[in-house]
Amino acid sequence: MSESTRVDPVEAHLALRQAQHGHGQARDTVPYEEAVAAFDPVLGLEVHVELNTASKMFCGCSTTFGAEPNTQVCPTCLGLPGSLPVVNALAVESAIRIGLALNCSIADWCRFARKNYFYPDMPKNYQISQYDEPIAHDGWTEVVVDGDTSRIGIERAHMEEDTGKSLHIGGATGRIHGADYSLLDYNRSGVPLIEIVTKPIEGTGAKAPQVARGYVTMLRDLLRALNVSNVRMEQGSLRCDVNVSLRPSAADPLGTRTETKNVNSLRSVERAVRYEISRQAGLLRGGGRIRQETRHWHEDSGVTTSGRSKETAEDYRYFPEPDLVPIAPSRKWVEELRGTLPEPPAVRLKRVTSDWGFTDLELRDVISAGALNAIEATVAAGASPQSARKWWLTEVARRANEMGVDLEDAGVTPQQVAEIQALVDNGTINDKLARQVFDGVIAGEGTPTEVVTQRGLTLVSDDKALSVAVDEALAANPEIVEKIRAGKVQAAGALIGQVMKAMRGQADAARVRALILQKLG
């Protein structure tokens, strides 16, 4: 649910200003390595996934993202008096498949529950969710970080409906407090959500941030393979809340945790965990105590700020939803759904390891970059595994980092990467020119082939043009020419470089080399 907007805006704003000006919490953080040397971090992750069903959780309205405000609404998702919810069977099916893929037990019988609280973007002023009877519970999954496998316990996966969206106009913070007025869009109201909650993740030590990122990456890939969600973090179809607590050692009881919201990219998951560990360690070391609270992640400044205190927990007055009948999935159906599951992540990893022939180190880098899906799709589009790995981990990764987005949001598709590699393979461009093609594709100039044409990036392998450039290089470097003639063929590299420079990188290096040796031989 969108509790993320429900914070004390003044407190959050002040905290953010303090953090930005180097006062308050930011001053108290300790370097990460010191923090994890002194404390044992424990994580908990709550992930909200918007399902990709065509219609909403409890009515027939469309779920298409980005429509005109309040055009995808009906009496039920507007919470009009007298309206009633009816469960979307496909959403239940997706929930069960997610549960099964996370090795959960699927409830024989479970109910929806009402979570009661007042907020204008929640039309009924209660959210239909699940409380003590989740559809899936007690599962596990595995995450590989730097070659080490962490087993992560899944507490539960339950079904609920999304809220509408508030847009606060005027005021300084963009939050409801201080706004001149607010606009409400109920298109998202009632979109099916699955909330997946881990058990406390212990024993990760210094790798906690990478484990957190690895888990969300794994989950994203799994959900995509299940074809149950678009898992677009930037569109909010996968939203992550990160719980972090510290304790002196693994033998100690769990410390007080904070829940950081708005962590909506893989990179942010890692950064937010890292920051929270440093911040909490600073507080604890200074003799302070951790407040149980909601915190907000600020992508730009890389800090979390205090939100609503959870010590006086809001009472949601949960009770079984009387408008809906219990859900009792038959064992037969559950087993049928089990048969539709994609390859489990661990099996898949084994398969690609043997198919792609990557070294352990290469594979490790691929996983930690979250590039497994992208590489698989690029290979499927015709590229070799090594070339796919190279592009995703160098050109695309660098640009994604610069933009502060995840790999797949960098603006290049696996099909385009495969096309670029094909252009290299057929000699149209070389690796160096390929970088400019990436720039063009990301800038929206068209397909790789179109970019090559429009930017005039084709390699020159025309002997006539090359021959002139080679002659000039030979004339300008008599001493190198002598070396080559004396048998030091490797000295040709320097000449090739000069030719390339003269041809602005568009020369076919192999052809240049051949020409040099021919002219001198």
Binding site: P81, G82, P85, V86, P120, K124, Y126, R317, D323, L324
Partner: protein, 501 residues
């Protein structure tokens, strides 16, 4: 009084279909009656006369062209103002919904319209169906046509009074703890709460979702059964709707044969607190059923005594959540929106101004009952009692076909008599509440006037889930014999109402 007004719905439909009467003249007659007597009775909150006449004209044309029409085609009906009818206001008897025109029809409304029934207006009720006297309506009480200084029951007092005042031959009510049956009992009319899930709740503004059920209100058993058959049946828009054939209520209402039927008299629903006239008429009716060949058995239902306290935890709990949507954000009343106030302040001011005392009382009780730390002791415990009451019914229905009791402990009381005593008011629903908690079918049928005050007494019949037909079998048996004994319908004895103007 125009003879049309005393004609039953089934007869009116037959005459309209045979073109002995036009629907337009039938609707006219009833609209005139409403105009004449409703200033005194105040059964209606909204009269949709123009649209009713347009509908009637269309139905007359259909009949003239030999087109197929529904079983109650052209007959007027009053809809309790808790069911949506697109284009007409729905207030639920509350100021907070002032000005709200629903954009959609309740399933019950849709079925009525599809069956060519003519909806003439929306009837008064206790605010959000909370009450047993219609005195909690924000728009003033309805008066009992038997004695205008008395209550017509509640929450559906408007629907029952509109029947007893001959303003309409048919009405639809909703029953959460007796809101159809108790008004029927104190107005001498027939009211049926179908099996939970037998009629759709879609478009019924929820009081307590697990208890609410729309049902037919009429002056005769056959009219009620005919209306029941029109509005009942599975609705995919209501998840709690039962996907099963509608019991043969029409066949049962026509048969009225109770020979060999085992009828249980509930031990706990009589004795202390029951008016002598109520006990007397109830006893006579049971005796009559015995004469007609039914086997009468005394049946204990020991947990029924806990029904009232359990109900007054479950209902407030659900209503505290159901009524949260009335927040001024999207529809209805908005108070305090001065451009400075926050959304929360506007919500609070609107709810403070828009809800009446009884609604606030139940929201507060329900909020408390669901609170962390109290849930198990209140809501949780009440749900256990609910299960025990269901088991009482199951045990009883293992040996008898139906259970009977008085519908209410007393006849209609005076307006104002109990407004300051919520507990006394709640006791009105002592007999009717168990059926809502268990979800079984239940009805109230008139069995005479109490000798001490000359006011109607009702007998309640309770049948197992999806055995709604048994209610009509018993009701028809009583009606057939009693109308003979009375020398005509009980409602013929309703005093002439002052005709205004």
């Amino acid at each position: 009084m125009n003879e049309i007004l005393r004609t039953t719905a089934v007869e009116l439909a037959a005459k309209i279909k045979a073109r002995e009467l036009s629907s337009v003249e039938v609707i006219h007659a009833h609209l005139e009656r409403i105009a004449a007597v409703d200033p005194d009775v105040h059964a209606f909150l909204h009269i949709d006369g123009e649209r009713a006449l347009q509908t009637a004209t269309r139905i007359d044309t259909k009949i003239a062209h030999g087109e197929h029409v529904g079983p109650l085609a052209g007959v007027p009906l009053a809809l309790k103002d808790v069911l949506t009818y697109a284009g007409a206001p729905t207030t639920c008897g509350s100021k907070i919904l002032a000005g709200w025109i629903p954009p959609y029809d309740a399933t019950v409304t849709r079925r009525l319209l599809d069956a060519d029934v003519v909806i003439v207006g929306k009837t008064n009720m206790d605010e959000f169906a909370m009450g047993s006297s219609t005195e909690n309506s924000a728009f003033g009480p309805t008066h009992n046509p038997w004695a205008l200084d008395r209550i017509p029951g509640g929450s559906g007092g408007g629907s029952a009074a509109s029947l007893a005042a001959f303003e309409v031959p048919l009405a639809v009510g909703t029953d959460t703890g007796g809101s159809i049956r108790q008004p029927a009992s104190v107005t001498g009319t027939v009211g049926v709460k179908p099996t939970y899930g037998g009629t759709s709740r879609y478009g019924l503004v929820a009081l307590a979702s697990s208890l609410d059920q729309p049902g037919p209100c009429a002056r005769t058993v056959l009219d009620a059964a005919t209306l029941h058959a029109v509005i009942a049946g599975h609705d995919p828009l209501d998840s709690t709707s039962i996907d099963a054939p509608v019991p043969d209520v029409l066949g049962a209402a026509r048969s009225g044969d109770v020979a060999g039927m085992k009828i249980g008299v509930v031990t706990e629903l009589r004795g202390e607190g029951y008016a002598p006239g109520v006990e007397q008429r109830f006893g006579e009716a049971v005796e009559l059923l015995s004469t007609l060949g039914a086997e009468i058995i005394e049946v204990p239902c020991p947990h029924f005594v806990y029904a009232l306290p359990a109900y007054y935890l479950i209902l407030p709990a659900e209503c505290s959540s159901n009524l949260a949507k009335f927040d001024a954000m999207r529809f209805g009343l908005r108070v305090g929106d001065d451009g400075e106030a926050s959304a929360e302040q506007v919500m609070a001011a609107t709810r403070e101004a828009g809800f009446g005392a009884e609604v606030k009382r139940r929201i507060i009780i329900g909020t408390y009952a669901l609170s962390s730390g109290y849930y198990d002791a209140y809501y949780g415990q009440a749900q256990k009692v609910r299960t025990l009451i269901s088991r009482d019914f199951e045990r009883a229905f293992a040996t008898v076909d139906v259970l009977v009791s008085p519908s209410t402990p007393t006849t209609a009381f005076k307006i104002g008599e109990k407004v300051d005593d919520p507990l006394a008011m709640y006791l009105n629903d002592l007999c009717t509440i168990p059926s809502n908690l268990a979800g079984n079918a239940s009805a109230s049928f008139p069995v005479g006037l109490a000798p001490e005050d000359g006011l109607p007494v009702g007998l309640q019949v309770m049948a197992p889930p999806l055995a709604d037909d048994r209610l009509y079998r018993v009701g028809a048996a009583l009606e057939r014999t009693l109308v003979g004994q009375w020398g005509g319908s009980l409602l013929d004895r309703v005093p002439e109402l002052t005709v205004v103007g």
